[in-house]
Structure formats: C-alpha cells, structure tokens
Symmetry: C2
Subunit: 220 residues, 2 copies
C-alpha cells in the first residue's frame, strides 16, 4: 500500500512540476529536523531576495499556524497546510495549497515541509530543488545517520553558524560527512541572525531562477 | 492498513510490558528530534545511576552504529537496531533486540528511539514511561507544533541548558507551552555537559524503579 501511495504521489508531483514550470516558478522544498531554523532562514531569505525575486511560501505543520505568522513578517504571501498527524507533505496537499496563492508576479515558491528528517524524503512535491537544513547544534553525524534525506539534497544549508563556538561544532567533520552522503550537493554555511552566507545564497537562487526560465520555453 | 499495523504493535507492546515487569525492569522510551542530545543525556544518566541502578540500552537508528558506540562508553550493555528507512521503533524490533541483551542483574532498560518528533509517538514499545527531550536550541514552540508527541510524554527533559543564553532561550514560554500540551508531565531542566539537573533525574528514576518493584508481585 505504501508503494501505491508513493506511485500516486509521484504522478501528482510531476503534474505540480509541469504547472510550476509553466508559471516560471523556481520551487524549493525545505526539509530538516524540527528546530533547525527553517522558518527563520526562509523569512530572512525572502527579505534578501526582494526585489530580484518575488516569493510565495507554503508551510506545513502538524498543528498551529505559528510559522505562517512568522513568515508573513517577510512580506511574502503565505499559505499554511495543517497536516494533523501526517508526518510529511504530499504533492496533493501542495497542489491544493497553491490554489490559495495568488501566483501573479511570483517567480519563486518556497515550500517548508514538516520538521522531520526521515519521512518527507520519500515524497516528491514537484520541486526543482531540495534544500536540507542542518543546524550546528544538531551534531555533525546527522548526514550519516539520516542518509535518505541527505542523499536527496540538492543543497545543504548549515544553519545557526553563530552558535558554532558555543556548541563546539566541528566544521571539518560536518563538511566531510555531508560530502560523503551528498557529494554533489551545494553547501551554504549560514546564520540568519548575523546574515552570514545569505548573500551567496541569494546570488545562487537568482542564477538558478534565471537559468530555469531560459531552459524552459513554457517558463517565460 | 496503518490501523492493523498499530493494532498488532499494541498487542506485541503489551507482551513486552508483561515480560519487562516479570524481570523487574523499569523501561524508558526516549523520544525527540534528531540532535536534541538523547545519546549524550542517556550516557551521562547511566553513569550517574551506577551503582543504584544497572542499566541496559537499546538504540534505534536508520543507519550507523555511532550511537551504540557512544553509549558503550557508559559501561552499559548496548544493542543497536538499524531500521533502514523505517522512521520509528516498533514493539517487535524491541522484542528481538531484548533477546540480545543479558538481562541478569539489570533493573533499568532504556530505549533510545529514532530521532523523529512525529511518527514514534504512535508506537507503544511496552515502556513504563515516555521521556521526550526538547533542547533549548530547538525553539520554545515545539510542544504546540508537535502535540501528539508531547501529549504522550510522562517526562519532558529540557536538554542543553548550557546553551540557553547563547541561543536566547525563553524559559517561561517553553515551560508554559509544555504545561499546556502535557500538564501532567514531570519536567527536568538539564545539561549533560555541566551536570545540571542530573541528580534530580537520578533520584526520580531510583524512586520509580523501587515503586514499580513494590507494586508488581512478579517484579521482584
């Protein structure tokens, strides 16, 4: 049955992907443990990206709309998905949420998944890139202990670099572990608090959005 | 199908519970996000509990036996369960792992679940108490955002208190949120690094183990 659910999800994800391409949207699926700082990182990214990229956000949580409220402080339109007891977002939930967003003028869609370093890895949402966050407070071994998630990452964002010293973060080991599991992933070392790494991240997204528009005749 | 899996798990969990009671074991199921500090907290707890309680540990991870190796530094016997892609422990996995432990003389069994603040909440393992860790670096809102996990907690251990100041931890808000979701849970504010809270935690466990032995005629 899990197989059938995943097959169905994969088909709906491709439909999402086609829809997003036709609208010229670059779509990011943000994944991490609870408390890695996804919401704060997204909020600060959106602020940095204005006026080059206009962003919409879809955010998934079991309960509460705390994150949606925090994200609205960035000025972006935000739709909350409340999953109840479901531990991940599915393509169908995203398709329904997109209908509540005014896509006019948007060129970047950020999906903040449920905080969970296991299950969301199995569910394609139709994104162009998976962004996996790893905060320096979580321990350098997480890529080795949660390989399906990190193997699926196009980008790994190391977050909360401002806390690196306080928690004895071992940078070399963390980077080596990421390289071992996700050798092709781009890595950004960031702090949403101090702004570290946010300019490089911004440039990367602007380039990717432009490259995508150029490649896809339906995307313009 | 999920229903049937849970029904089967619940029956096997009760069988585990009967087995554990007959052996006089107090059994703890440790749950949290990845990187909340379960392994370090358990290792330091085991060290503190000698010679009053003799502890065995079962630890679950998707991949690697890193945690088992770290836990063996406490002197306790440790069995690793490698779940592959499964995002939680089940009663049957625990029953199989227990067969690999020499229970002679043990009076405390600690089960470290897969790091996941969602799915493991649905799976009874036959434990006497659920211990949910929340590190100060994760954000004070986690009890509200992951209610099934926190509602099922008998004890909430706040970990990494040594980082509270560096990450701007709001103690009052965190405690209020825990109280709201888990009003009956005992709360321990701890740091495995500085030792904060570990004496109170140790006393609590010794009392609970003695109370259980007294209540259960099969437990002596």
């Amino acid at each position: 049955m899990r197989r059938a659910i995943l097959d169905k999800n994969d088909r709906l994800a491709e439909r999402n992907r086609g829809f997003f391409h036709a609208r010229g949207l670059l779509v990011l699926n943000f994944l991490s443990s609870p408390g890695s700082g996804k919401t704060t990182f997204i909020r600060e990214s959106v602020r940095k990206l204005v006026p080059d990229l206009k962003t919409g956000v879809i955010v998934g949580d079991l309960a509460t709309d705390n994150d949606a409220q925090r994200l609205r402080a960035s000025g972006a339109p935000v739709v909350q998905i409340t999953t109840g007891t479901v531990c991940h977002l599915e393509a169908e939930m995203v398709a329904r949420a997109v209908k509540q967003l005014d896509l006019t003028g948007l060129n970047l869609l950020i999906i903040e998944n449920v905080g969970n370093l296991v299950c969301p890895a199995s569910y394609d949402l139709g994104e162009d890139m998976r962004i996996v966050l790893l905060s320096v407070t979580e321990g350098e071994d997480k890529p080795l202990k949660y390989p399906p998630m990190f193997q699926s990452a196009d980008v790994v964002v190391i977050s909360k670099m401002d806390l690196a010293q306080a928690c004895g973060y071992d940078r070399e080991t963390a980077l080596a572990n990421i390289r071992r599991v996700a050798p092709a992933a781009r890595v950004f070392e960031t702090s949403a608090k101090t702004g570290q790494g946010l300019d490089a991240w911004r440039e990367f997204l602007i380039q990717r959005q432009q490259a995508q528009k150029a490649l896809d005749p339906l995307g313009a």
